[in-house]
Symmetry: none
Subunit: 132 residues, 4 copies
Protein backbone atom coordinates (compact mmCIF):
# COMPACT_ATOMS: atom_id res chain seq x y z
CA UNK A 1 0.00 0.00 0.00
CA UNK A 2 1.75 3.09 -1.15
CA UNK A 3 0.92 6.64 -2.05
CA UNK A 4 0.85 7.40 -5.80
CA UNK A 5 2.19 10.54 -7.47
CA UNK A 6 -1.39 11.46 -8.43
CA UNK A 7 -2.35 11.31 -4.75
CA UNK A 8 0.73 13.30 -3.76
CA UNK A 9 -0.09 15.99 -6.31
CA UNK A 10 -3.65 16.23 -5.02
CA UNK A 11 -2.36 16.52 -1.45
CA UNK A 12 0.07 19.27 -2.42
CA UNK A 13 -2.59 21.08 -4.42
CA UNK A 14 -4.94 21.18 -1.41
CA UNK A 15 -2.13 22.21 0.90
CA UNK A 16 -1.07 25.01 -1.41
CA UNK A 17 -4.66 26.25 -1.61
CA UNK A 18 -4.79 26.39 2.18
CA UNK A 19 -1.43 28.15 2.32
CA UNK A 20 -2.72 30.84 -0.03
CA UNK A 21 -6.00 31.12 1.89
CA UNK A 22 -4.15 31.99 5.09
CA UNK A 23 -1.66 34.20 3.25
CA UNK A 24 1.47 32.13 3.80
CA UNK A 25 4.35 30.90 1.61
CA UNK A 26 5.16 27.27 2.25
CA UNK A 27 7.53 24.45 1.43
CA UNK A 28 5.51 21.25 1.10
CA UNK A 29 6.92 17.72 0.93
CA UNK A 30 5.13 14.38 0.55
CA UNK A 31 6.83 11.02 1.25
CA UNK A 32 5.55 7.50 0.64
CA UNK A 33 5.22 4.56 3.05
CA UNK A 34 8.95 3.92 2.78
CA UNK A 35 9.67 7.53 3.81
CA UNK A 36 11.01 8.31 0.33
CA UNK A 37 10.03 11.67 -1.18
CA UNK A 38 7.34 11.55 -3.89
CA UNK A 39 6.72 15.25 -4.51
CA UNK A 40 7.85 18.65 -3.29
CA UNK A 41 7.07 22.30 -3.97
CA UNK A 42 8.44 25.57 -2.65
CA UNK A 43 6.03 28.44 -3.11
CA UNK A 44 7.46 31.69 -4.48
CA UNK A 45 9.14 33.68 -1.75
CA UNK A 46 9.00 30.86 0.80
CA UNK A 47 11.97 30.49 3.16
CA UNK A 48 14.86 28.60 1.57
CA UNK A 49 15.71 26.88 4.85
CA UNK A 50 12.22 25.45 5.10
CA UNK A 51 12.69 23.05 2.20
CA UNK A 52 14.82 20.69 4.27
CA UNK A 53 12.53 21.18 7.27
CA UNK A 54 9.45 20.24 5.25
CA UNK A 55 11.14 17.05 4.07
CA UNK A 56 12.40 16.20 7.56
CA UNK A 57 8.92 16.78 9.02
CA UNK A 58 7.38 14.44 6.45
CA UNK A 59 10.01 11.79 7.14
CA UNK A 60 9.68 12.19 10.90
CA UNK A 61 5.89 11.79 10.74
CA UNK A 62 6.29 8.54 8.78
CA UNK A 63 9.25 7.31 10.82
CA UNK A 64 7.05 7.25 13.94
CA UNK A 65 3.54 7.27 12.47
CA UNK A 66 2.39 10.29 14.43
CA UNK A 67 2.20 14.08 14.11
CA UNK A 68 5.64 15.64 14.49
CA UNK A 69 4.38 17.89 17.27
CA UNK A 70 3.59 14.88 19.43
CA UNK A 71 7.20 13.79 19.27
CA UNK A 72 8.29 17.31 20.07
CA UNK A 73 6.44 17.22 23.38
CA UNK A 74 8.44 14.13 24.37
CA UNK A 75 11.80 15.41 23.17
CA UNK A 76 11.92 18.41 25.52
CA UNK A 77 14.55 18.61 28.28
CA UNK A 78 13.57 16.21 31.05
CA UNK A 79 11.12 14.31 28.86
CA UNK A 80 11.43 10.71 27.76
CA UNK A 81 12.71 11.27 24.21
CA UNK A 82 15.06 14.18 24.89
CA UNK A 83 17.28 14.90 21.87
CA UNK A 84 15.75 12.18 19.67
CA UNK A 85 16.37 14.74 16.89
CA UNK A 86 19.95 13.45 16.59
CA UNK A 87 18.76 10.21 14.97
CA UNK A 88 18.03 9.42 11.33
CA UNK A 89 20.25 12.17 9.97
CA UNK A 90 18.18 14.81 11.77
CA UNK A 91 14.53 14.86 12.79
CA UNK A 92 12.22 17.88 12.99
CA UNK A 93 9.80 17.46 15.89
CA UNK A 94 7.73 20.62 15.99
CA UNK A 95 4.29 20.74 14.31
CA UNK A 96 3.85 20.61 10.54
CA UNK A 97 4.33 16.89 9.79
CA UNK A 98 1.42 14.45 9.62
CA UNK A 99 0.92 10.85 8.53
CA UNK A 100 -1.36 10.29 5.53
CA UNK A 101 -3.88 7.46 5.64
CA UNK A 102 -5.92 5.75 2.97
CA UNK A 103 -9.67 5.23 3.38
CA UNK A 104 -9.09 1.96 5.23
CA UNK A 105 -6.91 3.78 7.77
CA UNK A 106 -3.55 2.38 6.61
CA UNK A 107 -0.65 4.83 6.70
CA UNK A 108 0.53 5.26 3.11
CA UNK A 109 2.87 8.22 3.55
CA UNK A 110 3.26 11.58 5.22
CA UNK A 111 3.26 15.33 4.54
CA UNK A 112 5.62 17.95 5.91
CA UNK A 113 5.01 21.71 5.71
CA UNK A 114 7.32 24.56 6.71
CA UNK A 115 7.33 28.29 6.09
CA UNK A 116 5.29 30.11 8.71
CA UNK A 117 4.29 29.69 12.37
CA UNK A 118 4.01 26.09 13.51
CA UNK A 119 0.26 26.61 13.85
CA UNK A 120 0.03 27.63 10.21
CA UNK A 121 2.41 24.86 9.14
CA UNK A 122 0.19 22.35 10.93
CA UNK A 123 -3.01 23.78 9.41
CA UNK A 124 -1.61 23.51 5.90
CA UNK A 125 -0.32 19.97 6.55
CA UNK A 126 -3.77 19.01 7.80
CA UNK A 127 -5.44 20.42 4.71
CA UNK A 128 -3.17 18.20 2.64
CA UNK A 129 -3.33 15.09 4.81
CA UNK A 130 -7.12 15.02 4.85
CA UNK A 131 -7.61 15.59 1.15
CA UNK A 132 -7.64 11.98 -0.06
CA UNK B 1 15.64 36.93 -11.99
CA UNK B 2 14.42 33.67 -10.70
CA UNK B 3 12.30 30.75 -11.74
CA UNK B 4 8.79 30.76 -10.24
CA UNK B 5 6.91 27.73 -8.93
CA UNK B 6 4.44 28.18 -11.78
CA UNK B 7 7.31 27.91 -14.25
CA UNK B 8 8.75 24.92 -12.43
CA UNK B 9 5.40 23.16 -12.53
CA UNK B 10 5.11 23.83 -16.26
CA UNK B 11 8.63 22.49 -16.80
CA UNK B 12 7.86 19.35 -14.81
CA UNK B 13 4.55 18.88 -16.60
CA UNK B 14 6.27 18.96 -19.99
CA UNK B 15 9.05 16.69 -18.80
CA UNK B 16 6.55 14.17 -17.41
CA UNK B 17 4.67 14.21 -20.70
CA UNK B 18 7.90 13.42 -22.56
CA UNK B 19 8.75 10.69 -20.04
CA UNK B 20 5.40 9.03 -20.68
CA UNK B 21 5.77 9.46 -24.44
CA UNK B 22 9.02 7.48 -24.42
CA UNK B 23 7.67 4.97 -21.91
CA UNK B 24 9.95 5.80 -18.99
CA UNK B 25 9.46 6.43 -15.25
CA UNK B 26 11.41 9.43 -14.09
CA UNK B 27 12.43 11.43 -11.08
CA UNK B 28 12.36 15.12 -12.04
CA UNK B 29 13.82 17.99 -10.02
CA UNK B 30 13.83 21.73 -10.73
CA UNK B 31 16.09 24.17 -8.90
CA UNK B 32 16.14 27.97 -9.04
CA UNK B 33 18.98 30.40 -9.74
CA UNK B 34 20.23 29.83 -6.17
CA UNK B 35 20.45 26.06 -6.83
CA UNK B 36 17.69 25.48 -4.28
CA UNK B 37 14.98 22.96 -5.17
CA UNK B 38 11.65 24.47 -6.25
CA UNK B 39 9.74 21.35 -7.25
CA UNK B 40 10.21 17.61 -7.48
CA UNK B 41 8.20 14.59 -8.58
CA UNK B 42 8.88 10.85 -8.60
CA UNK B 43 6.67 9.04 -11.11
CA UNK B 44 5.04 5.82 -9.87
CA UNK B 45 7.46 2.93 -10.07
CA UNK B 46 10.49 5.12 -10.81
CA UNK B 47 13.78 4.06 -9.22
CA UNK B 48 14.07 5.18 -5.60
CA UNK B 49 17.76 5.92 -5.99
CA UNK B 50 17.09 8.34 -8.84
CA UNK B 51 15.46 10.96 -6.64
CA UNK B 52 18.78 12.08 -5.19
CA UNK B 53 20.42 11.79 -8.62
CA UNK B 54 17.77 14.03 -10.23
CA UNK B 55 18.33 16.69 -7.58
CA UNK B 56 22.12 16.42 -7.84
CA UNK B 57 21.94 16.73 -11.64
CA UNK B 58 19.81 19.88 -11.36
CA UNK B 59 22.16 21.38 -8.79
CA UNK B 60 25.25 20.42 -10.79
CA UNK B 61 23.83 22.03 -13.94
CA UNK B 62 23.21 25.28 -12.08
CA UNK B 63 26.43 25.15 -10.07
CA UNK B 64 28.41 25.36 -13.32
CA UNK B 65 25.79 26.70 -15.77
CA UNK B 66 26.25 23.90 -18.27
CA UNK B 67 24.77 20.51 -19.12
CA UNK B 68 25.89 17.89 -16.60
CA UNK B 69 27.26 15.71 -19.40
CA UNK B 70 29.76 18.43 -20.34
CA UNK B 71 31.23 18.34 -16.86
CA UNK B 72 31.33 14.56 -17.00
CA UNK B 73 33.70 14.68 -19.96
CA UNK B 74 36.14 16.76 -17.92
CA UNK B 75 35.88 14.69 -14.74
CA UNK B 76 37.27 11.49 -16.27
CA UNK B 77 40.62 10.08 -15.17
CA UNK B 78 43.42 12.22 -16.59
CA UNK B 79 41.10 15.11 -17.46
CA UNK B 80 41.18 18.57 -15.96
CA UNK B 81 38.31 18.22 -13.49
CA UNK B 82 39.05 14.65 -12.40
CA UNK B 83 36.75 13.60 -9.56
CA UNK B 84 35.05 16.98 -9.21
CA UNK B 85 32.09 14.86 -8.02
CA UNK B 86 33.58 14.98 -4.52
CA UNK B 87 32.63 18.64 -4.13
CA UNK B 88 29.38 20.21 -2.99
CA UNK B 89 28.18 17.17 -1.10
CA UNK B 90 28.28 15.08 -4.26
CA UNK B 91 27.85 16.03 -7.91
CA UNK B 92 26.33 13.93 -10.69
CA UNK B 93 28.09 14.65 -13.96
CA UNK B 94 26.51 12.34 -16.51
CA UNK B 95 23.70 13.61 -18.81
CA UNK B 96 20.25 14.53 -17.52
CA UNK B 97 20.89 17.95 -15.98
CA UNK B 98 20.40 21.17 -17.94
CA UNK B 99 20.34 24.89 -17.15
CA UNK B 100 17.02 26.67 -17.71
CA UNK B 101 17.03 30.09 -19.38
CA UNK B 102 14.43 32.80 -19.66
CA UNK B 103 13.58 34.38 -23.01
CA UNK B 104 16.41 36.88 -22.64
CA UNK B 105 18.89 34.05 -22.24
CA UNK B 106 19.53 34.51 -18.52
CA UNK B 107 19.94 31.33 -16.52
CA UNK B 108 17.11 31.21 -14.00
CA UNK B 109 17.48 27.63 -12.75
CA UNK B 110 18.09 24.06 -13.85
CA UNK B 111 16.36 20.71 -14.32
CA UNK B 112 17.63 17.26 -13.39
CA UNK B 113 16.11 14.01 -14.63
CA UNK B 114 16.97 10.43 -13.65
CA UNK B 115 15.30 7.07 -14.14
CA UNK B 116 16.33 5.56 -17.46
CA UNK B 117 19.31 5.59 -19.85
CA UNK B 118 21.28 8.84 -19.86
CA UNK B 119 20.00 9.48 -23.39
CA UNK B 120 16.41 9.26 -22.16
CA UNK B 121 17.19 11.27 -19.06
CA UNK B 122 18.68 13.98 -21.25
CA UNK B 123 15.73 13.95 -23.66
CA UNK B 124 13.26 14.40 -20.82
CA UNK B 125 15.38 17.15 -19.26
CA UNK B 126 15.49 18.92 -22.60
CA UNK B 127 11.72 18.72 -23.00
CA UNK B 128 11.43 20.42 -19.64
CA UNK B 129 14.20 22.95 -20.09
CA UNK B 130 12.86 24.24 -23.40
CA UNK B 131 9.25 24.52 -22.31
CA UNK B 132 9.27 28.13 -21.08
CA UNK C 1 36.67 -11.03 24.62
CA UNK C 2 33.95 -10.35 22.16
CA UNK C 3 30.34 -11.20 21.59
CA UNK C 4 29.76 -13.88 18.93
CA UNK C 5 27.01 -13.88 16.33
CA UNK C 6 25.53 -16.91 18.05
CA UNK C 7 25.30 -14.93 21.28
CA UNK C 8 23.86 -11.92 19.46
CA UNK C 9 21.20 -14.10 17.87
CA UNK C 10 20.30 -15.55 21.26
CA UNK C 11 20.07 -12.05 22.72
CA UNK C 12 17.85 -10.87 19.88
CA UNK C 13 15.68 -13.98 20.14
CA UNK C 14 15.04 -13.35 23.86
CA UNK C 15 14.43 -9.67 23.25
CA UNK C 16 11.94 -10.41 20.47
CA UNK C 17 10.13 -12.86 22.72
CA UNK C 18 9.81 -10.17 25.38
CA UNK C 19 8.65 -7.63 22.78
CA UNK C 20 5.88 -9.98 21.70
CA UNK C 21 4.96 -10.77 25.31
CA UNK C 22 4.31 -7.09 26.03
CA UNK C 23 2.63 -6.56 22.65
CA UNK C 24 5.19 -4.22 21.08
CA UNK C 25 6.98 -4.01 17.73
CA UNK C 26 10.65 -3.32 18.16
CA UNK C 27 13.85 -2.58 16.32
CA UNK C 28 16.67 -4.46 18.06
CA UNK C 29 20.40 -3.96 17.50
CA UNK C 30 23.38 -5.72 19.06
CA UNK C 31 26.93 -4.37 18.86
CA UNK C 32 30.19 -5.99 19.92
CA UNK C 33 32.97 -4.74 22.21
CA UNK C 34 34.23 -2.55 19.37
CA UNK C 35 30.78 -0.89 19.10
CA UNK C 36 30.32 -2.42 15.65
CA UNK C 37 26.92 -3.90 14.80
CA UNK C 38 26.73 -7.71 14.90
CA UNK C 39 23.03 -8.27 14.32
CA UNK C 40 19.84 -6.29 13.79
CA UNK C 41 16.14 -7.00 13.29
CA UNK C 42 13.12 -4.80 12.66
CA UNK C 43 9.89 -6.54 13.63
CA UNK C 44 7.02 -6.28 11.12
CA UNK C 45 5.23 -2.96 11.50
CA UNK C 46 7.86 -1.46 13.83
CA UNK C 47 8.60 2.25 13.37
CA UNK C 48 11.01 2.89 10.50
CA UNK C 49 12.73 5.66 12.43
CA UNK C 50 13.53 3.35 15.31
CA UNK C 51 16.11 1.35 13.37
CA UNK C 52 18.69 4.10 13.60
CA UNK C 53 17.70 4.81 17.20
CA UNK C 54 18.17 1.15 18.21
CA UNK C 55 21.65 1.13 16.68
CA UNK C 56 22.56 4.47 18.27
CA UNK C 57 21.35 3.25 21.67
CA UNK C 58 23.50 0.13 21.41
CA UNK C 59 26.53 2.14 20.35
CA UNK C 60 25.95 4.75 23.06
CA UNK C 61 25.71 2.04 25.75
CA UNK C 62 29.02 0.55 24.64
CA UNK C 63 30.72 3.90 24.02
CA UNK C 64 30.33 4.73 27.71
CA UNK C 65 29.73 1.29 29.26
CA UNK C 66 26.50 2.28 30.99
CA UNK C 67 22.77 2.27 30.36
CA UNK C 68 21.80 4.98 27.88
CA UNK C 69 19.29 6.42 30.37
CA UNK C 70 22.13 7.19 32.81
CA UNK C 71 23.83 9.36 30.21
CA UNK C 72 20.52 11.06 29.46
CA UNK C 73 20.31 12.33 33.03
CA UNK C 74 23.66 14.04 32.60
CA UNK C 75 22.97 15.49 29.16
CA UNK C 76 20.07 17.69 30.26
CA UNK C 77 20.36 21.50 30.19
CA UNK C 78 22.60 22.64 33.03
CA UNK C 79 24.02 19.18 33.65
CA UNK C 80 27.61 18.11 33.18
CA UNK C 81 27.29 16.39 29.80
CA UNK C 82 24.84 18.82 28.26
CA UNK C 83 24.22 17.97 24.58
CA UNK C 84 26.74 15.13 24.45
CA UNK C 85 24.38 13.79 21.78
CA UNK C 86 26.28 15.86 19.21
CA UNK C 87 29.30 13.56 19.41
CA UNK C 88 30.03 10.33 17.55
CA UNK C 89 27.70 11.09 14.67
CA UNK C 90 24.75 11.30 17.04
CA UNK C 91 24.08 9.62 20.38
CA UNK C 92 20.71 8.51 21.78
CA UNK C 93 20.68 8.93 25.54
CA UNK C 94 17.20 7.92 26.67
CA UNK C 95 16.53 4.40 27.99
CA UNK C 96 16.68 1.32 25.76
CA UNK C 97 20.44 0.76 25.47
CA UNK C 98 22.36 -1.55 27.83
CA UNK C 99 25.86 -3.00 28.01
CA UNK C 100 26.10 -6.80 27.71
CA UNK C 101 28.44 -8.67 30.05
CA UNK C 102 29.84 -12.17 29.99
CA UNK C 103 29.66 -14.42 33.06
CA UNK C 104 32.89 -12.95 34.41
CA UNK C 105 31.41 -9.48 34.27
CA UNK C 106 33.41 -8.21 31.31
CA UNK C 107 31.53 -5.99 28.87
CA UNK C 108 31.46 -7.77 25.53
CA UNK C 109 28.95 -5.60 23.67
CA UNK C 110 25.64 -3.79 24.00
CA UNK C 111 22.00 -3.96 22.96
CA UNK C 112 19.75 -1.14 21.77
CA UNK C 113 15.97 -1.35 21.50
CA UNK C 114 13.49 1.17 20.08
CA UNK C 115 9.84 1.06 19.08
CA UNK C 116 7.63 1.81 22.07
CA UNK C 117 7.74 3.79 25.31
CA UNK C 118 11.20 4.09 26.85
CA UNK C 119 10.01 1.84 29.69
CA UNK C 120 9.11 -0.88 27.21
CA UNK C 121 12.27 -0.32 25.21
CA UNK C 122 14.31 -0.73 28.39
CA UNK C 123 12.42 -3.86 29.45
CA UNK C 124 13.05 -5.52 26.10
CA UNK C 125 16.72 -4.50 26.16
CA UNK C 126 17.05 -5.97 29.63
CA UNK C 127 15.48 -9.26 28.53
CA UNK C 128 18.13 -9.43 25.82
CA UNK C 129 21.08 -8.23 27.88
CA UNK C 130 20.50 -10.75 30.65
CA UNK C 131 19.98 -13.76 28.39
CA UNK C 132 23.57 -14.98 28.19
CA UNK D 1 4.02 -5.69 -1.05
CA UNK D 2 6.84 -5.80 1.39
CA UNK D 3 9.31 -8.27 2.77
CA UNK D 4 8.54 -9.58 6.28
CA UNK D 5 11.08 -10.19 9.05
CA UNK D 6 10.36 -13.90 8.80
CA UNK D 7 11.29 -13.81 5.12
CA UNK D 8 14.39 -11.75 5.86
CA UNK D 9 15.50 -14.24 8.49
CA UNK D 10 15.02 -17.12 6.06
CA UNK D 11 17.03 -15.26 3.42
CA UNK D 12 19.86 -14.57 5.86
CA UNK D 13 19.83 -18.16 7.10
CA UNK D 14 20.25 -19.50 3.58
CA UNK D 15 22.93 -16.94 2.79
CA UNK D 16 24.86 -17.80 5.96
CA UNK D 17 24.69 -21.49 5.09
CA UNK D 18 26.16 -20.75 1.69
CA UNK D 19 28.85 -18.56 3.23
CA UNK D 20 29.88 -21.41 5.52
CA UNK D 21 29.77 -23.89 2.65
CA UNK D 22 32.33 -21.88 0.69
CA UNK D 23 34.38 -21.14 3.80
CA UNK D 24 33.82 -17.38 3.97
CA UNK D 25 32.86 -14.90 6.70
CA UNK D 26 30.20 -12.47 5.55
CA UNK D 27 28.24 -9.40 6.49
CA UNK D 28 24.67 -9.85 5.23
CA UNK D 29 22.00 -7.13 5.05
CA UNK D 30 18.38 -7.33 3.91
CA UNK D 31 16.28 -4.24 3.10
CA UNK D 32 12.58 -3.98 2.30
CA UNK D 33 10.81 -2.40 -0.69
CA UNK D 34 11.39 1.05 0.80
CA UNK D 35 15.15 0.37 1.03
CA UNK D 36 14.95 0.33 4.83
CA UNK D 37 16.98 -2.33 6.63
CA UNK D 38 14.99 -5.28 8.03
CA UNK D 39 17.76 -7.56 9.26
CA UNK D 40 21.54 -7.75 9.41
CA UNK D 41 24.19 -10.17 10.62
CA UNK D 42 27.98 -10.08 10.74
CA UNK D 43 29.52 -13.52 10.96
CA UNK D 44 32.29 -14.02 13.51
CA UNK D 45 35.58 -12.74 12.19
CA UNK D 46 34.04 -11.02 9.16
CA UNK D 47 35.57 -7.72 8.08
CA UNK D 48 34.28 -4.79 10.12
CA UNK D 49 34.29 -2.51 7.09
CA UNK D 50 32.01 -4.84 5.20
CA UNK D 51 28.98 -4.11 7.38
CA UNK D 52 28.40 -0.75 5.75
CA UNK D 53 29.22 -2.19 2.33
CA UNK D 54 26.63 -4.96 2.75
CA UNK D 55 23.97 -2.40 3.66
CA UNK D 56 24.95 -0.08 0.79
CA UNK D 57 24.87 -3.02 -1.65
CA UNK D 58 21.37 -3.96 -0.50
CA UNK D 59 20.18 -0.37 -0.79
CA UNK D 60 21.84 0.10 -4.18
CA UNK D 61 20.20 -3.06 -5.55
CA UNK D 62 16.78 -1.79 -4.46
CA UNK D 63 17.44 1.81 -5.48
CA UNK D 64 17.84 0.70 -9.09
CA UNK D 65 16.14 -2.72 -9.08
CA UNK D 66 19.13 -4.55 -10.52
CA UNK D 67 22.24 -6.42 -9.39
CA UNK D 68 24.85 -4.02 -8.05
CA UNK D 69 27.45 -5.40 -10.46
CA UNK D 70 25.37 -4.25 -13.42
CA UNK D 71 25.55 -0.69 -12.19
CA UNK D 72 29.27 -1.06 -11.63
CA UNK D 73 29.82 -1.82 -15.31
CA UNK D 74 28.16 1.47 -16.21
CA UNK D 75 29.91 3.56 -13.56
CA UNK D 76 33.44 2.94 -14.88
CA UNK D 77 35.51 5.80 -16.32
CA UNK D 78 34.14 6.68 -19.75
CA UNK D 79 30.86 4.83 -19.18
CA UNK D 80 27.43 6.38 -18.96
CA UNK D 81 27.00 6.39 -15.17
CA UNK D 82 30.56 7.33 -14.19
CA UNK D 83 30.79 8.21 -10.49
CA UNK D 84 27.11 7.52 -9.75
CA UNK D 85 28.47 6.28 -6.40
CA UNK D 86 28.42 9.86 -5.13
CA UNK D 87 24.61 9.82 -4.91
CA UNK D 88 22.34 8.66 -2.11
CA UNK D 89 24.93 9.03 0.61
CA UNK D 90 27.23 6.55 -1.11
CA UNK D 91 26.45 3.61 -3.40
CA UNK D 92 28.40 0.35 -3.72
CA UNK D 93 28.31 -0.85 -7.30
CA UNK D 94 30.43 -4.00 -7.40
CA UNK D 95 28.77 -7.44 -7.16
CA UNK D 96 27.11 -8.69 -3.98
CA UNK D 97 23.77 -6.85 -4.03
CA UNK D 98 20.63 -8.37 -5.58
CA UNK D 99 16.92 -7.49 -5.67
CA UNK D 100 14.58 -9.96 -3.96
CA UNK D 101 11.34 -10.91 -5.71
CA UNK D 102 8.20 -12.61 -4.49
CA UNK D 103 6.67 -15.52 -6.39
CA UNK D 104 4.71 -13.15 -8.61
CA UNK D 105 7.94 -11.43 -9.63
CA UNK D 106 7.40 -8.20 -7.69
CA UNK D 107 10.50 -6.71 -6.08
CA UNK D 108 9.92 -6.75 -2.32
CA UNK D 109 13.42 -5.87 -1.10
CA UNK D 110 17.09 -6.60 -1.66
CA UNK D 111 20.09 -8.39 -0.14
CA UNK D 112 23.64 -7.14 0.19
CA UNK D 113 26.63 -9.33 1.03
CA UNK D 114 30.24 -8.33 1.69
CA UNK D 115 33.23 -10.06 3.18
CA UNK D 116 35.13 -11.99 0.52
CA UNK D 117 35.81 -11.78 -3.22
CA UNK D 118 33.02 -10.18 -5.23
CA UNK D 119 32.38 -13.58 -6.82
CA UNK D 120 31.83 -15.11 -3.40
CA UNK D 121 29.80 -12.12 -2.22
CA UNK D 122 27.56 -12.51 -5.26
CA UNK D 123 27.19 -16.28 -4.76
CA UNK D 124 26.10 -15.80 -1.16
CA UNK D 125 23.70 -13.01 -2.13
CA UNK D 126 22.20 -15.27 -4.77
CA UNK D 127 21.72 -18.09 -2.28
CA UNK D 128 19.77 -15.66 -0.13
CA UNK D 129 17.83 -13.93 -2.89
CA UNK D 130 16.55 -17.18 -4.37
CA UNK D 131 15.50 -18.76 -1.07
CA UNK D 132 11.90 -17.52 -0.92
Amino acid sequence: MNLTLEQAEKIISKAKKKALAIDTKMNISVVDAGANQVAFVRMDGAWLGSADIALKKAKTARFFDMPTGEIGKLSQPGESLYNIEHSNGGLITFPGGLPIKDKAGNIIGAIGVSGSSVENDHAVAEAGATSL
